[in-house]
């Protein structure tokens, strides 16, 4: 029985580790192949910079610290009011 257990452990390690490696090896192949097919035959149009994200960025201008703080405050108040309901 004890010998059996050790043998089972060895089996589990060999076949188990083998399977993990073979599986991930296959996954490397499949992934690489899939990426080639897609980038080769079904290329995506360059992702247009999203308009909504662009608006504030167009002037390279981030919302000021103060504006952000005010907004955070407003949101917090808004949430509190909702929670109270």
């Amino acid at each position: 029985m004890e010998q059996g257990l050790w043998q089972q452990g060895v089996d589990l390690m060999l076949y188990g580790m083998g399977t993990v490696f073979v599986f991930l090896l296959l996954l490397v192949f499949v992934t690489t192949f899939m990426s080639r097919i897609i980038t080769g035959f079904f290329p995506e149009a360059e992702p247009a910079p999203a308009a909504s994200a662009k608006a504030p960025a167009s002037k390279g201008q981030l919302p000021s610290e103060k504006t952000l703080a005010i907004i955070k405050d407003a949101i917090a108040q808004h949430r509190k009011r909702k929670d109270r309901d």
């Binding site: 060895v10 589990l12 899939m34 990426s35 290329p43």
Partner: protein, 435 residues
Amino acid sequence: MENIVGLWQESGIAQITWGQSIMIVIGLLLLFLAIRKRFEPLLLVPIGFGGILANLPGAGLALSSVEVAIASGDVNLLRQMAALVGTESLVDLKNALSGAPVAIQQAAAQMAADAGYTDGMLHKFYTVAIASGVAPLVIFMGVGAMTDFGPLLANPRTLFLGAAAQFGIFATVLGAAGLSALGIMDYSIADAAAIGIIGGADGPTAIYVSSMLAPDLLGAIAVAAYSYMALVPLIQPPIMRALTSEAERKIEMVQLRHVSRREKIAFPLALLILVAIFLPDATPLLGMFCFGNLMRECGVVDRLTDTAQNALINITTIFLGLSVGSKLAADKFLDPKTLGILALGIVAFAIGTAMGVLMAKFMNAVSKQKINPLIGSAGVSAVPMAARVSNKLGLEANPHNFLLMHAMGPNVAGVIGSAVAAGVMITMVRAMGAA
């Protein structure tokens, strides 16, 4: 007057055992680690609290109705149950019942219900969340919905790092089997497999596997898995430094290419088909993972993705944690097996880390495109902690070396790797049991 005596006998203090006291202290310790030291608090707060609840004397929160009945010592009822199971000894009733056919167990539960006993609260949570297998699957769906496979797709070779790091799992299985073969411990092969999965550094996978192969060890295995995941920033760096040279740690990696949305949509489907072909027993876990990821990447079901990432995974985490805590009951946790689990678990992490780093060095030896071996350690999973450790050590060696995104590849590869390992172990252990 007898009422007041009854009240005292019902009170917890008259019933507490040493084991329960110790387990309550251990629960408090887990809470301390979670709250003060930020050890995976999302899981360890519910687990720690559940562990305390499970050990409150007299409450029986972690017991089934039959176990409550047995604990109550109602002799008439126990005699009936013993007759049902066909055993003579009242002492052995619990074991006899747990080995009995399901029909007998259900009849015993009916008897307990007739006598007014009900399942404890944590036992109910455990039955619904873990024994059914559902909670780890839902968590995996949520994790899938939060995972970005971009870095992996940009550099698929990092999958090898995720494969190598799983050696920690199987070395630990062998270690547990060896300890038992030597007579030091008493683990079955199913126990050994469940213990090994700690080395996968992935909480839900560990809970899923041990709920199937070794439910009695689930508490210790989950605690070990989450604790060591939290300790990754302490466990990994010495190993990584010992196995790499300063020059290796300085290696800068080329920026990752842009991965298109279509590749990201195709990946979970390709992974699912591969799993189905080679590892049917891994399909529940990886199927839900791929489903979550597909919802994320397809971009047309943002409502569902948002729920899978938030409300649903949070609800599930609460009950999963409390349910795991129910397995911290003293009679299950305070066992030499637990010490063995804790010892083997850290070995598993160390071996996994080392193998990831060594595999990276091996790949550098045979390939022109160099990779920084520090990202190898991220192959153990422990997302995103292990990748952050790689990044930190990279920056120490070279202040311009940002490895975080590169390490995310092996990091998520490790999640796949340990789920694959889970599937292969479940399949093989079942075959061994049937043989």
